[in-house]
């Protein structure tokens, strides 16, 4: 079956430092990978969408300078939260899909910023 793994599941970083998180698709080819964030007491909001052979598209309020994303192959993506501050804390979710199929989600990476 199709599975999406995320690593780490939980992480803590000091304010002003950076944190890299990974997303692994197993059992299917991740032609598109989307990264979402759930801030405390809020629902998930899209950060950016990466599609093979296309430029990564960032949503309003999110930038490549702050959340650089790598999508080097059809099974892996990573995103870094640069210069993390308190407002960056939350659950970061990776969703991956093949073409128009259902998007599969990982369990998320929970980021705490001290």
């Amino acid at each position: 079956g199709a599975l999406v793994y995320q690593y780490p599941r939980r992480t803590i970083c000091k304010s002003g430092t950076s944190m890299r998180m990974e997303c692994q698709a197993v059992g299917f080819q991740a032609t598109s990978v989307a990264w979402y964030r759930q801030s405390p007491q809020k629902t998930f909001e899209l950060i950016a969408l990466s599609t093979v052979n296309s430029a990564i598209k960032y949503e309003q309020n999110f930038t490549q300078e702050k959340f650089p994303i790598s999508h080097p192959n059809l099974s892996f993506s990573s995103m870094t939260v640069l210069n993390a501050y308190l407002e960056d804390r939350g659950l970061y979710l990776c969703g991956a899909k093949t073409g128009a199929d259902t998007q599969y989600f990982g369990p998320g990476t929970r980021l705490l910023v001290l």
């Binding site: 979402y36 899209l46 998007q103 989600f105 929970r110």
Partner: protein
């Protein structure tokens, strides 16, 4: 942009009672999923139901595509059902999934 509204925002039940959760969306959806988010935060996919009715265990989802709404029925609720239920829709031409506002369910013993 696409909006997904869920109701009620929160729900408290006694164990054994049934729950009815609603999801309304503003644009046509080609994919619709219901998720459970545990109090610890992990997301679990419950059902994918873009149209019609689907059952799995104590869960029944009915989606009426033309009316842009979906429901999730939980029968004989258990304390372990407590958590947040999220509805999410996807349009195949965007590859973007939009999550609803969530319903926080609390089942009391």
């Amino acid at each position: 942009g696409q909006q997904v509204q869920q109701s009620p925002a929160s729900l408290v039940l006694q164990e054994g009672e049934n729950a009815e959760l609603q999801c309304n969306f503003s644009s046509t959806a080609t994919q619709l999923q219901w998720f459970y988010q545990s109090p610890g935060g992990s997301l679990v996919s419950l059902l994918s139901n873009p149209s019609g009715t689907k059952h799995t265990g104590r869960l029944t989802s009915t989606t009426v595509t033309k009316e842009r709404r979906s429901s999730l029925h939980i029968s004989s609720s258990q304390t372990t059902d407590s958590g947040t239920y999220l509805c999410a829709i996807d349009r195949s031409n965007t590859n973007k999934v939009v999550f609803g506002t969530g319903t926080r369910l609390q089942v009391l013993p």
